[in-house]
């Protein structure tokens, strides 16, 4: 069925007439297999500290939001300042359906996907109607407007208090096992997202979108279906973010829009993408862990941390090199790989 071939530096898999290659990276600090292995065995060391487990689960979820955002920015070529809109949409869909209609997590997952798809399709015309900067601004405003909406219909959305008590995804007898299980689930979610986004960027769709980012008219003249691809690159990451919202609802079992929709949360995610480096996708993981650790350690300072945290983020941007970032694209053997340039003001 599937034939595997081991060459000197890569593994080639063939299925019917399709062929994929995995390059084996010799530098251990850049080898994703080593990194992923480390992430998998991490709980062995920390399983008795539930708050560290929560911290790394949160880090995985931050990365799971940042990776589709990076894909969206690469694909549409514009910066999306409001990825948390779909987090809120997905989360509230799952939470409300679970609380008021008693749907179990599998059904709420389906509902989340459907609702996010519908709303993303409704909003996708902004990718081609709104010129570059306008698109970024509209994405900035949308989550704040959604937050307003949750306050307006406060009896339904429970405003600042949020919704509590949704059914958990799984529960074991020992509480520690819950934490560990949630960590592994979030890790698998994040890795699936990474796989999906990586495959998309390295596929024909990815190369075509790189061409569109460079010069849209020329790409169109070469046969690239620009509008269809832009819609795909807007809708798909939105659905993925919505699924993270669903995950949050059923893992942490509380969901308040005010935690996830305002600007503070957005800056966290954006910093993860920016600090992750030009490669954006792989760099999101160490970036997310860094931000999560910083956030957790600052929490001990008390209420001042709300003031110190943005300053620390500014320091991170100023002092961390952005060329290769924390974890550049791991293939150094093809040095002339394509590094996309983000344009905020593009037409």
């Amino acid at each position: 069925m599937v034939n595997f071939e081991l060459r000197r530096d890569r593994i080639v898999a063939r299925w019917r007439d399709k062929k994929t290659e995995w390059v084996i990276e010799p530098r251990y600090w850049r080898n994703p297999t080593v990194g992923i292995g480390l992430l998998f065995i991490l709980p062995v060391f920390v399983y008795s500290y539930p708050h560290i487990l929560t911290m790394i689960t949160t880090a995985n979820l931050y990365a799971a939001i940042a990776i589709p955002l990076a894909l969206q920015m690469l694909g549409t070529g514009r910066v999306n300042f409001g990825p948390q809109l779909y987090l809120g949409v997905g989360g509230y869909t799952a939470a409300l359906l679970n609380l008021h209609f008693g749907w179990n997590p599998a059904m709420t997952l389906l509902a989340t996907v459907v609702v996010c798809t519908v709303i993303a399709l409704l909003l996708s015309p902004t990718t081609w109607i709104a010129k570059g900067l306008y698109f970024s601004l509209i994405t900035l405003i949308l989550p704040l407007t959604f937050l307003d909406v949750t306050y307006i219909w406060g009896d339904l959305f429970r405003g600042e208090v949020g919704l509590v008590g949704m059914s958990p995804l799984l529960s074991f007898e020992k509480v520690t096992w819950n934490y560990v299980a949630y960590y592994y689930l979030s890790l698998i979610l994040m890795l699936l997202y990474l796989l999906f986004c990586d495959r998309t960027v390295r596929s024909r769709i990815g190369i075509s979108m790189a061409a569109v980012n460079e010069n849209e008219n020329v790409a169109r003249m070469m046969g690239v279906r620009v509008d269809a691809y832009k819609v795909f690159f807007y809708v798909a990451p939105s659905i993925l973010t919505g699924i993270v919202g669903w995950f949050i609802v059923h893992t942490f079992r509380t969901f308040a829009g005010v935690t996830y929709l305002p600007l503070e949360f957005m800056t966290k995610i954006l910093i993860i993408v920016i600090v992750g480096g030009r490669a954006f996708l792989y760099g999101a993981i160490p970036g997310a862990y860094l931000i999560s650790i910083v956030e957790d350690s600052l929490r001990g300072l008390g209420p001042v941390n709300y003031f110190v945290f943005p300053l620390v983020l500014i320091a991170l941007i100023v002092f961390l090199p952005r060329g290769e970032g924390l974890w550049g694209l791991y293939k150094k053997r093809r040095p002339r790989d394509y590094f996309p340039k983000l344009h905020v003001r593009r037409e």
Partner: protein, 291 residues
């Protein structure tokens, strides 16, 4: 029915004039520096809390506090934003915008930490502490004064841009930067001037509306959103567009408040902006030049 109509018209005019002040500075930076200043909300927070700090900690009177606050504001805008953020990250716009937001968040949370809402911050800048009734609608004199201040400041700005030499130079810089450079404009100095000019209307706005609008550390975000919507609607960086769009958004807010529920104001304004963008992609006065 006509009562509601009168209310809508009056409040549309008053809010429109107040929004003029809010969006003037934002459009100025957008049109001249071509940078979307997402940290613009800082101006409001600094205006309110610096004045309060000078009055409470240094025990200065109202007017000296305001004067000192304006000086600190200009310094903050020039040093932190212009030199610290804009000049460093001109090439990497996503970082520029993110750092602007972060500065705004840092300042807002600092204000919240030092003077939380419970500390009762207020700026006693009421000029006439009385109400007036116009055909069944009761208004505080302060609101009318705020509206008049808005119209006056905008008029001064427009006349200044149209009639003075420096105004001409700034307009030239906003229309075509390389050509202005070739004509000998000192672009850096114009940028400093534009930054300072953009700080003044929101400061005046805050000082006059503080008595009835209420002061809270996070007031910058909704005001920034309104300024952004007005800019998008009127055409980024276009003064004419800002003026028209301010009254338009004021009208939308007023009608939604009095016909439906006040909480829908922001949402309605967003929907209208999106609809206008479908038909005219650059806003009402597209063209991204100052006038």
């Amino acid at each position: 029915m006509s009562d509601t109509l009168l209310q809508i018209v009056i409040y549309a005019l008053i809010w429109g004039s107040i929004y003029l002040l809010i969006s003037l500075g934002f459009s100025l930076i957008c049109g001249v520096l071509r940078i979307f200043h997402l940290g613009y909300g800082v101006v409001f927070v600094l205006a309110a809390y610096l004045t309060w700090a000078f009055m409470e900690e240094a025990h200065l009177g109202l007017v000296p506090s305001i004067a000192l606050m304006i000086v600190v504001q200009c310094a903050f805008a020039l040093i932190v934003f212009y030199k610290g953020v804009f000049q460093r990250y001109l090439e990497e716009e996503e970082i520029l915008l993110t750092v602007s937001i972060l500065v705004f968040l840092a300042v807002a949370h600092l204000a919240n930490y030092l003077y939380p809402v419970t500390a009762g911050v207020s700026i006693p800048s009421t000029i006439i502490d009385d109400v007036v009734t116009i055909g069944g609608v009761t208004l505080a004199w302060q609101m009318i004064i705020a509206a008049l201040a808005g119209i006056l400041v905008t008029a001064v700005y427009v006349v200044w841009f149209m009639k003075t030499r420096i105004g001409l130079i700034i307009r030239a810089v906003s229309q075509n930067l390389p050509a202005a450079l070739l004509m000998g404009a000192n672009v850096n100095r114009m940028y400093y001037l534009a930054m300072i000019l953009s700080v003044i209307p929101p400061t005046i706005c805050l000082v006059v509306i503080a008595p009835f609008w209420g002061v809270d550390p996070f007031m910058g975000a909704p005001l920034l959103m309104t300024a952004m919507l007005i800019s998008i609607l009127g055409g980024l960086g276009n003064l004419k567009g800002s003026i028209v769009a301010s009254y338009l958004i004021g009208f939308i807010h007023a009608s939604v408040s009095f016909i439906f529920v006040p909480r829908f104001m922001g949402f309605a304004a967003l929907i209208v902006t999106l609809i206008v963008m479908i038909y005219r992609r650059g806003g009402i006065f597209a063209g991204e030049t100052l006038w």
